[in-house]
């Protein structure tokens, strides 16, 4: 079995060192680099062959959300694990929207981190047990949505992606750029989504997307 290579970004030196020691005591886990602010982390991540990026959400400079977004946009290969001080539902949802694979609250980071890294390295997802309540909310809302608007299931993949990006407050122009489609096509998709979901009015699609952002 090959080593799991990890990059740690956390601005608190003592915490970072503690984390590093715990991780390095576990077999096959190797910390390849550290960063203490978002800018440095990003410079290192771009060139890094790490398997896992362990990111503090509250990094100075670029924060964890920005880094995770950038990793997704640049299609970097590493999986992202968030460390955070906040047991916050909105944070968790945003993280999951950004394709973050592991979400660990710092309260118990040193106990959980090794387990989390192994799970994520094995392709699974990991969320601190303290936060599973929020996960339940998320899936409950998704179920409710499916019941209230069964048409959602009928959306095509592209429509669903457009809707997700709308929920991130992206303009048609930005969505077009991201999906490599023309603005006109995106406008068309937006109109189709409105029709399929039976939404009427100027901002109706946006409102729907926002209200159900975490379930899409």
């Amino acid at each position: 079995m090959t080593d799991i290579r990890i990059l740690i970004a956390d601005d608190h030196p003592i915490f970072r060192h503690g984390l590093r020691q715990i991780i390095e005591r576990a077999p096959q886990l190797v910390v390849v680099d550290e960063a203490e602010d978002g800018e440095t982390a990003w410079q290192k991540l771009r060139k890094s062959d790490a398997d896992i990026a362990l990111l503090d959400v509250e990094l100075p400079g670029k924060d964890g959300f920005e880094l995770a977004g950038a990793i997704r946009e640049q299609r970097l290969k590493m999986a992202v694990i968030f460390l955070t001080m906040h047991k916050d539902e909105h944070f968790l949802n945003r993280a999951l929207d950004l394709d973050v694979k592991g979400y660990v609250v710092k309260d118990s980071a040193l106990v959980e981190i090794v387990q989390c890294i192994r799970a994520v390295a094995a392709g699974q997802e990991y969320v601190s047990p303290q936060l599973t309540g929020f996960l339940l909310n998320r899936s409950r809302r998704a179920t409710q949505l499916a019941a209230a608007k069964p048409q959602v299931a009928a959306l095509t993949d592209v429509e669903r992606r457009v809707l997700k990006l709308v929920a991130e407050y992206k303009s048609s122009k930005e969505i077009a750029a991201e999906l490599c489609l023309s603005v006109r096509t995106i406008e068309h998709h937006r109109a189709r989504i409105g029709q399929r979901l039976e939404l009427e009015g100027h901002h109706a699609v946006l409102k729907f997307a926002l209200e159900h952002r975490s379930e899409l």
């Binding site: 030196p13 003592i14 715990i22 001080m85 916050d88 945003r94 710092k106 118990s108 407050y169 946006l206």
Partner: protein, 987 residues
């Protein structure tokens, strides 16, 4: 009866056991966040040669003058990368170097920091002297791999060469047994410092000192330290003392040179002691702690005996030294004692008749010329018993208060009803009828020529060979309540009173001294001449001393006031309340020590060790403000450091109010330092500022001035050179010749001009007020953000570490259920604290705003408010992110927050809607409710209901707040913000 020593062994044994445990003769002063310290964790402390104390905290570098803390951190020095200072060094040129936790090293010069970056990945710096009075820095070098819990590790050295910190392996040091941050070991290493080429490493229970040549000396309990947890106490040239804490939790101070230890405090500080403490230039010991602030220890002037040395009571009334050198103490309600080396031995119980007649009190002790001890006037100690002198039978039943013998060998006993003269077993009763000034006698002393002075409530009387001469208040006695008499070597009689001050009687003339003349207190229960030029007196507020020469000079009219120095509980007295009206109310023993009975025991002063601080304190002018604005930093430096050719501080016309802050740097009773200042060119005389450290001037006329300030330390020694600052006030244009010419030429024009000027000035004032309000809001937000970040970064992170450690501990001890439970309970209380920190910092600064953007933050806020109110809240928000700067975003957030607050608190609405609408060139935020509406004048005047704050914030956004409300028909508050062209939505 008097107790023979063997008669009551039980009592003796008990007292001997209680006697004289080591007691601290140090006074401790304590500073924490509650009384001015910016943070309770003080990492290092240093005294710079200008006299200031500097300390490092995680909230900045802090300067201390003994009274005021001045903080330098990111808030006022934006060039700093963080505020978490750890280490300090002063170089040979007086430059102050301070290192940050993250490795950067800053040089503080002319009020600013020059920051040197650390080498990659190096943190936890220690600054030290490279051997040439230049800074060098050691970085903690983590071991590359972790072979076990404990490893050898090294400190990697860098020294400043040609403006850069360069690696210098010659200065590297190795530390044995370095513990890892998340592990614990009984021998955890607390720090290592290189001082003057020697490496001092502090462990949990020992200090290792490694010389240049590698010789190691260990200081521990085995080599004479009284306890564990040692810290170094550094003077100018390195460590001179060590502190340690013994098994009973007491804090000890050990001299390195002699390994002699003394008790510093019965109770150690709460926090962890930092690695190094400081002894300053005046001998104060500064103990800095991680978590419990800063302590100053200073040897007490006064030693306490009695309760302090284990006696179960404290009230003492009389004290006497006998010819054999033994010290005898009369108490109230506890009989008569002898004391030797702090051990009190009971000699006669309070049940003895001698005390019973006096209500249990020992009112008088006297040893006659034959060497017999007399107690309460009528009783003589004979063969270990108190025997009533038959010659006293039939006189005042309460016993005596004073006793003395005249040249003829007659014994005089002062009672509440006159004086008894006893000779050859025959007693004569003297009263006012015979010529006494008063009957209630309190004190009798010999006049040195065979006669006596008798003091009583009502006056004083001189007795000689049967002749009585009396003086009362009418003749000049300072008061009726005479308590003490003292005859000095010049033949002057000194009179102490209970409440009327001190009197001097010489050559038929009385002089009176009271608090008006500089006496500390009008109570003078005893007067002792220490033989060193001082009179020591006792009163209800402690003991006080005055130079005898000053008293004589005052009497001769050469000076108009005297200077008193006072001592009370904070100087070590067992109680400030001294006892008097019984004799002797204090004694100077032949070893030169002075003893005073108090309500808490005996107070002892050794006048030879009481030092007046003769060092004039350095005086510094710290800052100047003109109309509440600090003077420009550049101009300030030029004025302060420019020497004689310094460029004066310029005060422009129209700037009316000058404030100048100054200080003096003595750390002995710093708060009692006194100041005088004057503005040369304006003030004729010195202004006596007392202890005030700010000078105020308003409307100084145009001209050139020099502000001078001088200071005296707490013992009244003046630095009369002081410090000075040149100031120039520029004339207003109305005072220049051309303006006056213009005025003559065009009177009407001037009127018009003045009118226009007045109007514009009013406008300026109004604009300034609005700007001030906005600035206040901005700085409040900034401050909230800073505190939230600090809470999160420092307290929060530390709690996280504790919690994590508790959890790791829980796993490590899983076989022991009791320990597991302990760890669990630690983890869960820390979790509660963490939640609290999170809540507080969320209230100060909504973290969603910084991470998830304005729209989401507003959503979360509305959601959270909805949980706490019965009003139904709805949000209709369009995306707003990236439209506003961070500062504008928080302002807008607060507008909505205040608006919602109003709705929830005042409106009584059943439904409220927050909507954000976006037009091409603007954003409109509306909060409307269906509640009871605003009273008519509130809407128009924006008064109350938080509307003023909302309006001010709206103005900061360049927007206008409109309020639309009618009583009973709800309220609609709207803010329309025009967007800058660049942000307007493209069609």
């Amino acid at each position: 009866m008097l107790l023979a020593p063997m008669a009551r062994p039980a009592a003796l044994l008990a007292l001997a056991l209680l006697a004289f445990p080591a007691h601290a003769q140090y006074r401790l002063d304590h500073w924490t966040a509650d009384n001015g310290l910016p943070q309770n964790s003080v990492r290092e402390i240093l005294q710079t040669r200008d006299g200031y104390l500097w300390i490092t905290t995680f909230d900045g570098l802090v300067r201390f003058d003994g009274v005021r803390f001045t903080v330098f951190n990111r808030g006022n020095s934006p060039e700093l990368p963080s505020s978490r200072f750890v280490s300090l060094f002063e170089d040979g040129d007086g430059g102050l170097w301070a290192a940050l936790e993250t490795g950067e090293v800053g040089l503080r010069q002319r009020g600013r920091f020059t920051v040197y970056r650390p080498p990659q990945g190096r943190i936890n710096p220690f600054l030290f002297d490279d051997g040439h009075s230049r800074p060098a820095v050691h970085y903690w070098r983590a071991p590359a791999s972790v072979p076990g819990l404990v490893a050898r590790s090294s400190l990697e050295a860098y020294r400043l060469l040609d403006g850069r910190f360069r690696r210098d392996p010659d200065l590297d040091v190795t530390i044995p047994a370095l513990a890892l941050p998340f592990d614990s070991s009984p021998d955890i290493q607390h720090g290592s410092k290189v001082i003057d080429g020697e490496q001092w490493t502090v462990f949990a229970s020992r200090v290792e000192r490694r010389s240049r040549k590698g010789a190691i000396r260990v200081y521990s309990k085995d080599t004479g330290l009284p306890g564990d947890r040692p810290t170094l106490v550094c003077g100018k040239g390195g460590p001179v003392q060590l502190t340690s804490v013994d098994a009973a939790g007491r804090l000890w101070l050990t001299e390195l040179a002699t390994m002699k230890s003394e008790l510093l405090s019965r109770q150690p500080p709460d926090g962890m002691l930092a690695v190094g403490s400081l002894v300053d230039g005046e001998g104060n010991i500064w103990v800095n702690t991680v978590g419990d602030g800063l302590y100053r220890a200073r040897r007490n002037a006064v030693a306490a005996f009695g309760r302090a040395t284990g006696l179960p009571f404290g009230e003492m009334y009389t004290v006497l030294e006998r010819k054999d050198g033994s010290l005898w103490i009369g108490t109230s309600g506890n009989g008569l004692y002898r004391m030797k080396d702090g051990v009190f031995t009971l000699q006669a119980g309070a049940g003895d008749e001698a005390f019973v007649v006096a209500g249990g009190r020992a009112n008088n002790l006297h040893e006659d010329r034959a060497g017999d001890l007399w107690v309460n006037g009528y009783w003589r100690v004979s063969d270990g018993r108190l025997v009533r002198d038959p010659a006293t039978v039939g006189y005042h039943p309460g016993g005596g208060f004073a006793m003395a013998e005249d040249g003829a060998g007659a014994r005089f006993t002062g009672t509440a009803d006159g004086v008894l003269r006893t000779q050859d077993g025959v007693t004569t009763h003297l009263t006012t009828r015979d010529g006494l000034a008063a009957n209630e006698t309190k004190v009798i002393i010999e006049d040195g020529r065979g006669g006596l002075w008798i003091g009583a409530t009502g006056g004083i009387t001189h007795y000689r060979e049967g002749r009585l001469t009396a003086w009362t208040v009418k003749d000049g006695v300072p008061g009726d309540t005479v308590r003490a008499l003292h005859l000095d070597g010049d033949g002057a009689l000194w009179i102490g009173t209970y409440d009327s001050g001190l009197g001097r009687f010489k050559d038929g003339r009385f002089t009176r001294y009271t608090t008006h003349d500089g006496l500390f207190d009008n109570g003078v229960f005893q007067i002792l001449d220490d033989g060193l030029g001082w009179f020591w007196m006792s009163c209800n507020r402690g003991i006080h001393r005055v130079r005898k020469k000053e008293l004589d000079d005052f009497a001769a009219g050469r000076i108009r006031s005297v200077t008193s120095y006072a001592y009370n509980k904070s100087d070590g007295m067992p109680s400030a309340e001294c006892n008097g009206g019984r004799w002797p109310a204090g004694v100077k023993t032949r070893d030169g020590k002075l003893w005073f009975p108090t309500m808490g025991g005996l107070a002892m002063v050794d006048p030879r060790t009481v030092r007046t601080n003769r060092e004039p304190p350095p005086v510094v002018i710290e800052a100047m403000r003109v109309d509440r604005q600090s003077v420009d930093a550049e101009a300030w430096e030029n004025a302060v450091h420019g020497g004689s050719g310094a460029a004066p501080i310029r005060v422009d016309p129209g700037q009316d109010n000058l404030e100048i802050e100054y200080t003096a740097l003595s750390f002995i009773n710093s708060e009692n330092q006194r100041f005088r200042y004057k503005l040369e060119g304006a003030d004729r005389d010195w202004v006596d500022a007392g202890t005030r450290r700010t000078a105020y001037y308003s409307r100084v006329p145009p001209g050139s001035y020099r502000f001078r300030v001088i200071a005296a330390n707490a013992d009244g020694v003046w630095n009369s050179t002081g410090a000075s600052l040149p100031i120039t006030v520029i004339p207003h244009f109305t005072r220049t010749w051309w303006f006056q010419a213009l005025a003559v030429l065009s009177f009407a024009g001037v009127i018009a001009g003045a009118w226009a000027y007045r109007v514009s000035q009013l406008r300026r004032v109004q604009a300034a007020q609005q700007e001030f309000a906005r600035e206040l809001i901005r700085s409040q937000e900034h401050e909230r953000k800073r505190i939230a970040a600090e809470l999160h970064d420092s307290l929060g992170q530390n709690l996280l570490i504790v919690k994590n450690r508790a959890q790791i501990g829980q796993i490590a001890v899983q076989d022991d259920p009791a320990l597991v439970e302990q760890f669990q309970s630690i983890a869960s209380s820390v979790a509660d604290s963490l939640d609290e920190v999170r809540n507080i910092s969320q209230n100060l600064r909504p973290y969603h705003l910084d991470r998830l953007g304005l729209t989401k933050a507003l959503e979360v806020m509305i959601e959270n408010v909805a949980k706490t109110t019965s009003t139904r809240l709805r949000a209709e928000l369009v995306p707003l992110d990236d439209l506003f700067s961070k500062e504008d975003a928080i302002t807008l957030y607060r507008v909505v927050q205040e608006g919602l607050n109003n709705v929830v608190k005042h409106s009584g609405a059943s439904e409220a809607v927050v909507s954000v609408e976006r037009a091409t060139d603007s954003v409109t935020v509306t909060i409307r409710d269906d509640g009871r509406g605003l009273p008519p004048d509130a809407a128009s005047r924006h008064h109350g209901f938080g509307l003023a704050g909302m309006a001010e914030r709206a103005r900061m956004l360049g927007a206008v707040l409109s309020v639309d409300s009618a009583e009973g028909r709800g309220t609609r508050v709207a803010v329309r913000i025009r967007l800058p062209i660049a942000r307007q939505e493209s069609a």
